[in-house]
């Protein structure tokens, strides 16, 4: 069991706001509109909100678990399930983090290859990004939090560019409101969950927050912020693209950058994608950090060595995803696993923990 981190390694409670929303905004936001409008059409924006509400409930549950356990998920697993079952659950969570690292990296590399440099090799870009990740994670948790803050600061001005597509918007594309059935909306909400994933990293960095029990409101605010960003992004795409065209567009948000018409820059996507590196960098860092911390716990491996191992796995796996279909498939599979983890496993631990603490009290 790892000791609690020293105070000079912790961060203030309000940083949870930045970490949560940074982790939720990644490559997914560049293309999520297409997937949710497939089921819910012009009402897909309702699904963005519905899905966001469910995330609030999950964040609340996560805080209940962590407040009771007062440590990260690795320790809680061990306390609840013992060495072997707890250990294998921990191992699963390490793999889970690595998988997210892989698809985040590979999707970003794919976007770069399609939009900027078609002749750039996957290994070359992956190598550069992973070396940056290595350096950042070596700096410790605080550096990752710093990157998260920067990612919000750099990413936010990009929202101003929605002005350009809004000039060409057809607002009647949103009407009539609520012409899809509830089951359609739920289907789209389920798809939307994948984009909101990332908040569950709370499980790993909880001990690194000063007065962690008081940070819950910041976590909820972070989710509200993310929902607003997704909602705004989605609405702009839904009034700019007709439903039929949206189904043909792989990265609607990116395509919207193509409408930017500034006198000093013709192709804004190049600029936007370069900024986007800062948006996804903390995500990969956090995944690698959490995974390496898990390895440290499980096998008493030094975190630096664990990190190298994790990054190597991410690097090699990203090479095996060679084309659009494979990346898409991997994303869908990881999304499904993530869906079951947050909607089934998290409530399960919560209930299990409740029962156990009652049993222990009686005994």
């Amino acid at each position: 069991m790892l000791p609690k981190p020293a105070e000079n390694k912790q961060v203030s409670a309000y940083f949870v706001f930045y970490i949560i929303s940074t982790m939720q905004i990644g490559v997914g936001i560049l293309g999520f509109e297409r997937y949710i409008s497939r089921d819910a059409g012009n009402d897909a924006w309702i699904s963005i909100i519905l899905s966001g509400v469910s995330i609030h409930v999950l964040v609340w549950i996560i805080y209940q678990i962590l407040k009771t356990g007062q440590h990260d998920i690795f320790t809680i697993h061990r306390n609840l399930f013992g060495k072997w079952i707890g250990g294998s659950l921990n191992f699963f969570f390490v793999l889970y983090m690595i998988m997210f690292g892989i698809i985040t990296l590979r999707s970003f590399v794919e976007v770069i290859q399609v939009w900027m440099f078609p002749d750039m090799n996957t290994w070359y870009l992956s190598m550069i990004i992973l070396v940056i990740v290595y350096l950042a994670v070596l700096g410790g948790f605080r550096v990752i939090v710093g990157l998260s803050l920067l990612s919000i600061l750099y990413g936010l001005p990009l929202l101003l560019l929605k002005w350009f597509p809004l000039k060409q918007a057809h607002y009647y594309y949103l009407e009539p409101i609520m012409n899809h059935s509830l089951s359609d909306l739920f289907k789209a909400s389920k798809t939307m969950t994948l984009n909101y994933l990332g908040f569950e990293t709370l499980f790993f960095y909880f001990p690194f927050i000063k007065e962690a029990n008081k940070s819950q409101k910041w976590a909820h605010l972070g989710v509200v912020f993310t929902v607003c960003i997704y909602l705004f992004t989605g609405l702009v795409s839904f009034v700019y693209f007709s439903k039929e065209q949206l189904s043909h567009t792989i990265w609607p948000t990116l395509s919207l950058w193509q409408t930017v018409d500034l006198p000093f820059i013709q192709r804004f996507e190049y600029f936007g994608l370069s900024i986007w590196l800062f948006v996804i960098l903390p995500n990969i860092c956090m995944h690698a950090w959490a995974a390496s911390r898990g390895l440290k716990q499980l096998f008493s491996l030094k975190q630096k060595k664990g990190l190298v191992l994790v990054l190597l796995i991410i690097f090699i796996a990203s090479l095996f995803l060679t084309d659009r279909q494979e990346v898409d498939m991997a994303t869908t599979i990881v999304g499904k696993i993530g869906f079951y983890v947050v909607y089934l496993y998290i409530p399960f631990i919560y209930i299990y923990q409740l029962i156990q603490s009652k049993v222990r009290k009686k005994a």
Partner: protein
């Protein structure tokens, strides 16, 4: 030591020559207009116009035109590359032109390859050319240095007055895919040393079907979108009056009363009399002009919509707008069966607010 070795390997890999192909601005041929002409059913001719900036100071840019025949648009590009001294780059493409004959056979095969290309923007203008695109691009025009500049400027400023505001790659593809609305594009024609807007080209899907003549474009735009520009001339008691549009708003209202559904297009126009020779603009006279304008606009609008229905095309997107007001409407079915016979009423409200500085 081991660490230093690893970093050394990284640096070597970093400079291992895995670099991206450079495109230096001086070493590429920027394409500003890409056009297509009809050759025969299976063959198209791709034409590009590219500005050449002479190295000598104070000489105006010239435009060069390349043309090549092929079966697909990508292949025309390949063949054109074979003619060009520097590699052709589409990144700054401003307009796509299509010959009317080609457009009659459908332009989506070409447009979809263009819209898939990430190096292109979404705001590339599109237009149909009555006649040969190649002749239009090759002609010399006294008004501007290059033909491509002429076409760009012409399309840009006319989209405020009489042409639909957005007739670009995005809007075309969007309206093409959208069930219940057909795209429209500007129609250009080339006379000896001028390029002129001939009207608005109408489409059924991606096939060019006919056009709204220039004189009716103002009325079409009134029905098509809100705008605040443009002039319209009409006759009042034997005198010609010209009004300038200060602001116009259009709103469709769909009344789905079975068995006889109805569409009402409501147009509100605020105008200013700019020219009324021989008419004394008393209050009564202004009212008279307003009434005339209301009558003329709704009659013209009705005949336009009637013509669209007869041609079975929906450039105004009446089915989409009906669908946005009625949640149970089946757009596919409406487009096919009911649109042609849907009664459309046009209600025009006019308000003339000013009559210039002289009374």
């Amino acid at each position: 030591m081991k660490k230093a070795l690893l970093w050394f390997i990284f640096v070597v890999l970093l400079f291992s020559g895995n670099t991206v192909e450079k495109t230096v601005l001086e070493d590429v041929q920027l394409v500003s207009i890409y056009g297509y002409d009809f050759v025969n059913k299976n063959t198209i001719k791709g034409i590009i116009s590219s500005p050449v900036i002479p190295l000598v100071e104070n000489t105006p840019p010239k435009s060069t035109v390349f043309a090549a025949k092929a079966h697909t648009s990508k292949n025309t590009r390949q063949k054109l590359q074979g003619e060009s001294p520097e590699p052709l780059v589409l990144g700054r493409l401003e307009a796509l032109l299509f010959n009317d004959k080609l457009a009659k056979h459908g332009i989506m095969p070409v447009v979809s390859t263009m819209s898939q290309d990430p190096s292109l923007g979404r705001n590339v203008h599109m237009a149909i050319v009555d006649g040969s695109v190649q002749e239009m691009l090759e002609a010399k025009y006294p008004v501007t240095d290059t033909s491509s500049q002429y076409i760009q400027d012409l399309l840009k400023h006319n989209s405020k007055n009489i042409l639909p505001r957005y007739t670009n790659l995005h809007s075309f593809v969007d309206l093409y895919h959208n069930v219940g609305q057909d795209p429209v594009l500007p129609l250009l024609v080339h006379t000896k040393d001028r390029i002129r807007v001939k009207g608005i080209a109408l489409f059924d899907g991606d096939k060019y079907k006919g056009f709204v003549p220039y004189a009716d474009c103002f009325v079409f735009k009134l029905l098509y979108e809100n705008f605040n520009n443009g002039m319209y001339e009409f006759k009042v008691n034997g005198h010609f009056v010209t009004i300038e549009n200060l602001a116009s708003k259009v709103k469709e209202e769909f009344i789905n009363d079975q068995p006889s559904p109805k569409m009402i297009i409501k147009v509100r126009i605020k105008g200013k009399i700019t020219d009324a020779p021989g008419l004394l603009l008393t209050k009564k006279q202004v009212k008279n002009i307003e009434d005339h304008l209301t009558y003329v606009l709704s009659a013209k609008g009705k005949s336009l919509v009637g013509r669209f229905q007869k041609m079975n095309i929906d450039p105004l997107g009446l089915v989409v707008k009906a669908g946005s007001q009625d949640r149970h409407l089946n757009k596919e079915k409406w487009e096919k069966e009911y649109y042609r016979t849907l009664p459309v009423d046009i209600k025009v409200e006019t308000e003339i607010t000013q009559s210039g500085t002289v009374e």
